[in-house]
């Protein structure tokens, strides 16, 4: 799974999320202290796409080698 680096674009995301009651993009903490979002969101943000309102924001993000920091293990 590939990821996009949202570390430097969090303020803009907060504003877009605030305009939506039924959906939000939430970055997760990645390795290297980065805040990352799934790359495949880009595939769903064209005209009429589910994440169309987020398209401009997604388009400015760069692919990253960062991966989710840890998956919790409760056992």
């Amino acid at each position: 799974m590939m990821w996009l680096d949202a570390s430097n674009s969090m303020a803009e995301l907060v504003a877009i999320n605030a305009a939506h009651d039924d959906r939000q993009i939430m970055p997760i903490r990645g390795t290297g202290g980065r805040m990352i979002v799934p790359f495949d969101l880009l595939a769903d943000c064209g005209q009429g796409g589910y994440w169309a309102d987020y398209c401009e924001w997604l388009a400015i993000l760069s692919p990253t080698d960062s991966v989710p920091e840890a998956v919790g293990q409760l056992e």
């Binding site: 039924d22 939430m26 989710p68 840890a70 919790g72």
Partner: protein, 277 residues
């Protein structure tokens, strides 16, 4: 189109199925005649079993697209009564390709971390949060190694949560005392139901598979339930469920006969959509 559908089905379709289809349409989705028929039968089966008031929320992940799938069938104990939680499940990070309505891959699939739904309803909102139930229907998994996936949960003081782990299925209601079943990756319907302070039962496909008789004092969490993970004091747990869910529910406690009736109803629904485990 909607009025034509209403005109055609108006005399025979269950009012809650019709209401759901209208809410789906207003949310940007649509419902096929075959799916509406399956939802109609689900509503009728739940009514016939006398368990309608057991549900505060029932999500069925059905309809034409992701927007449709996130419209819950039930949002309260009756259509005309108090409605609870978000009008639709609030989607975090799922994309359209994660949802297929019918067939062997049918349901909402999480392929990685960071995807979950917020129902907007918390344990503290229930009439009597000392007892109650959670459930979900999942496809069979093929995960290896050691894993813990949380399918649904609200935690803040108390635990109202269900897990799929490499060591088996876990259900919690009120505290971290669990009812468990040492089976991993199995597809089908799971329910955890607390019917008293000293009886917590885990059901798999309508049959009891584990109990806990530890006497507890439930600590109601005020955090809304998340699906595909657990809401821990306001944040998603990192142990996201990886796999496909086909329905979930939140509500009052279910007895063994009620759990069996619920399974029969939801199994028929999943079968009608060609996605039964």
């Amino acid at each position: 189109m909607i009025s034509a559908r209403l005109g055609f089905f108006g005399q025979t379709t269950h009012p809650e199925a019709l209401n759901w289809s209208l809410r789906v349409a207003s949310n940007g989705g649509s419902v096929s005649a075959s799916t509406l028929s399956a939802v109609d039968k689900l509503c009728r089966a739940i009514d016939a079993a006398g368990i309608r008031d057991r549900f505060f929320r029932l999500g069925i992940f059905a309809g034409s697209n992701l927007s449709a799938a996130l419209v819950p069938l039930y949002r309260g104990q009756s259509l005309g009564g108090t409605q609870y939680g978000n009008a639709t499940d609030t989607n975090t990070n799922f994309i359209s390709a994660n949802y297929t309505e019918q067939g062997a891959s049918g349901g909402l699939t999480s392929t990685g971390t960071g995807r979950y739904l917020n129902t907007g309803i918390a344990p503290s909102a229930l009439t009597n949060p000392a007892v109650g139930h959670l459930s979900y229907y999942r496809s069979a998994g093929s995960q290896t190694g050691t894993f813990t996936y949380l399918t649904i949960g609200s935690e803040d003081g108390g635990a109202y949560r269900m897990d799929e782990r490499s060591t088996g299925q876990f259900g919690f209601w009120g505290t971290y005392n669990a009812a468990t079943n040492a089976v991993a990756n199995a597809g089908g319907h799971r329910i955890v139901s607390r019917t008293s302070a000293s009886l917590l039962t885990l059901y798999s496909n309508g049959a009891s598979v584990g109990t806990s008789s530890t006497t507890i004092t439930a600590v109601p969490s005020s955090r809304p339930w998340f699906v595909f993970t657990s809401n821990v004091a306001g944040a998603p747990n990192a142990s996201y469920f990886i796999g496909t869910l086909r329905s979930y529910s939140i509500g009052n406690e279910l007895t063994s006969s009620q759990a069996a009736a619920y399974y029969n109803a939801i199994q028929s629904f999943q079968t009608a959509l060609g996605r039964n485990a």
